[in-house]
């Protein structure tokens, strides 16, 4: 096991009866156990909606009983037992549900071996199957990310809505529709076989990565970074890596997230304005996190052709280990981007490669590559493209052209801090242009 998934056992703490403390205990236990609890219930009953309702009722019951009887020694087990009972009650009340569950159960019993036991905990760990259900290719990409956050991250619908800056009603509708599709089209709750994994795992990794990128660089709104989302993504990536240790891309994803997150304290200044890589105070980077990320990047790149997350982790590792921008191994970074462009071609990768080429061969070489991307339709509204052009034009002494490109970037940027940072560079370019 790499790292430590945060443990939250309250066992041995003795009886806790202060209502506020109990409420906090229930919240803490539920946060940690939610994914496991839900996955176990879905395996048992084959119905995600029923499992969610039963889990929520178990938490309510805990809030009623624990202040009186104390927090049980195995809170996860207590919640599971209670949730199971509540689920059975619901099934008894609802004949249609009972019939459907009976059919599902008969099929599950035929098809499924016993769930994986985890001697370490009082709940079995069925979360991997839940990851694959939530990120099933039959769901849209947005649905996959929302369900993963909701079911495995244990966020409420309101919290998921806040994470993606959409109204709660919109998110509730989306989640209801996605759960209905899982139920009615019968998207299975199972871990794909070894032969299917290469097709199915990228979707799961993508969902976790999307959670991280939304936290790392919010697409809109007043703040550039939302660390809670980034940390939730890292927690989920850790779980995946622990459940699928032999899949090198899970190591690559976790490594990449850690290597990027290690720079979180220096990515923004005190005023919330983004600080670019060349201006960041590298002494404040999180060295232990970099160490862990580098080890994972090595694992991801050893023993076979590399995947896109492993390659991106390796690129992030080279940045994190460099003493400064000048001392960065740009030839190696360009070489990694070359491979990445073959494995996972995208205009954004091509853009990043062009910037690395500019560092290796000079701004003119980078600018030529960027100009080739100018007509790329998927980059038309992507502010990093004009921003990168502007930086290179500035370095070439073409200050008026640089100012034009900065203006384009300001118009396209999605968050206030990004606009502020670009306006600062624009002012510099304009000042230099006046001197020309």
């Amino acid at each position: 096991m790499v790292g430590g998934e945060q443990r939250h056992h309250l066992a041995g703490r003795g009886l806790e009866t202060d209502p506020a403390a109990v409420r906090a205990s229930v919240a803490a236990v539920f946060r940690e156990e939610h994914g496991r609890l839900l996955a176990t219930l879905v395996r048992r009953f084959g119905d995600l909606h029923l499992a969610e309702e039963a889990a929520a009722e178990a938490v309510e019951a805990a809030l009623t009983h624990w202040p009186v009887s104390g927090v049980p020694t195995r809170p996860g087990g207590w919640l599971l037992t209670t949730a199971r009972r509540r689920a059975v009650d619901r099934i008894r009340r609802d004949r249609t549900l009972a019939l459907r569950i009976a059919v599902l159960q008969a099929e599950a019993d035929r098809a499924d071996p016993a769930p994986a036991a985890d001697v370490d905990r009082d709940l079995p760990d069925d979360r991997l199957a839940l990851f694959f259900t939530c990120a099933h290719p039959a769901l849209t990409e947005e649905d996959r990310v929302a369900l993963t956050l909701r079911c495995l991250g244990g966020l409420t619908t309101a919290e998921v809505a806040r994470a993606f800056l959409v109204p709660e009603a919109t998110m509730a509708q989306r989640i209801v529709r996605a759960k209905r599709k899982i139920r009615d089209a019968r998207i299975p709750f199972r871990v794909p076989g070894v032969d299917e994994l290469p097709q199915r795992l990228p979707g799961v990794l993508q969902a976790v990565y999307s959670i991280f990128t939304e936290g790392y660089a919010a697409s809109s709104g007043p703040n550039l970074q939302r660390l809670d989302l980034a940390e939730e993504a890292i927690r989920l990536a850790r779980i995946l890596h622990r459940l699928l240790p032999a899949q090198r891309e899970t190591a690559g994803l976790l490594g990449l997230l850690l290597l990027v997150h290690a720079r979180r304290h220096t990515r923004t200044g005190p005023d919330g304005v983004p600080v670019l890589l060349d201006e960041q105070d590298r002494r404040r980077w999180d060295r232990p996190m970099i160490g862990e990320g580098c080890a994972l990047a090595r694992t991801a790149l050893t023993g076979g052709p590399p995947g896109p997350y492993g390659l991106q982790a390796a690129i992030a590792a080279l940045h994190d280990e460099a003493p400064d921008v000048a001392g960065t191994d740009w030839p190696q970074i360009v070489a990694l981007y070359d491979v990445l462009l073959r494995v996972a071609p995208s205009p954004v990768v091509a853009l990043n490669r062009a910037v690395a080429v500019a560092m290796r061969d000079g701004p003119a070489a980078g600018l030529a590559l960027l100009d080739e991307l100018a007509t790329e339709p998927r980059l038309q509204a992507y502010h990093p493209l004009p921003a990168a052009r502007a930086d290179l034009l500035h370095r070439l002494g073409r200050h008026a052209d640089a100012a034009d490109a900065y203006r384009q970037a300001v118009d396209l940027a999605g968050t206030d801090p990004e606009r502020d940072q670009l306006r600062r560079r624009l002012a510099e370019a304009e000042a230099a242009a006046r001197v020309d």
């Binding site: 249609t96 019939l99 459907r100 059919v103 099929e107 098809a111 099933h136 039959a138 009615d184 089209a185 019968r186 998207i187 299975p188 199972r190 794909p192």
Partner: protein, 117 residues
Amino acid sequence: MKYMLLFVGPPTDGPDQAVPQCTVEDWIAYDKQMKDAGIWVSGNALADLTTCTSVKVDADGQRIVTDGPFAESREVLGGYDIIDVPDLDVALDWAARSPGARDGGSVQVRPVAEFGL
């Protein structure tokens, strides 16, 4: 659970004639695979789109019969199978294996609604 596999493809008289199309033998082999696996419920290939006739009844009860399908339909339903399999993953496997999923065609996989189970 029953799923209907709807095989949709470009019109047979369309401009994509250069693209290699799957053969009758491919379909016969696929049919046999489904029957041997014991999952096939029913299914048919449909006759050419030129034989299609549409009918609707207006508010006055007048029957309106027209030649062909809706003009805007660019994909043509060429046939269907109903299969009985445990879940969507298995249904998608069968859909992906069909000749209709290749050569520019696609397969829509739709659960058959179950009422009053």
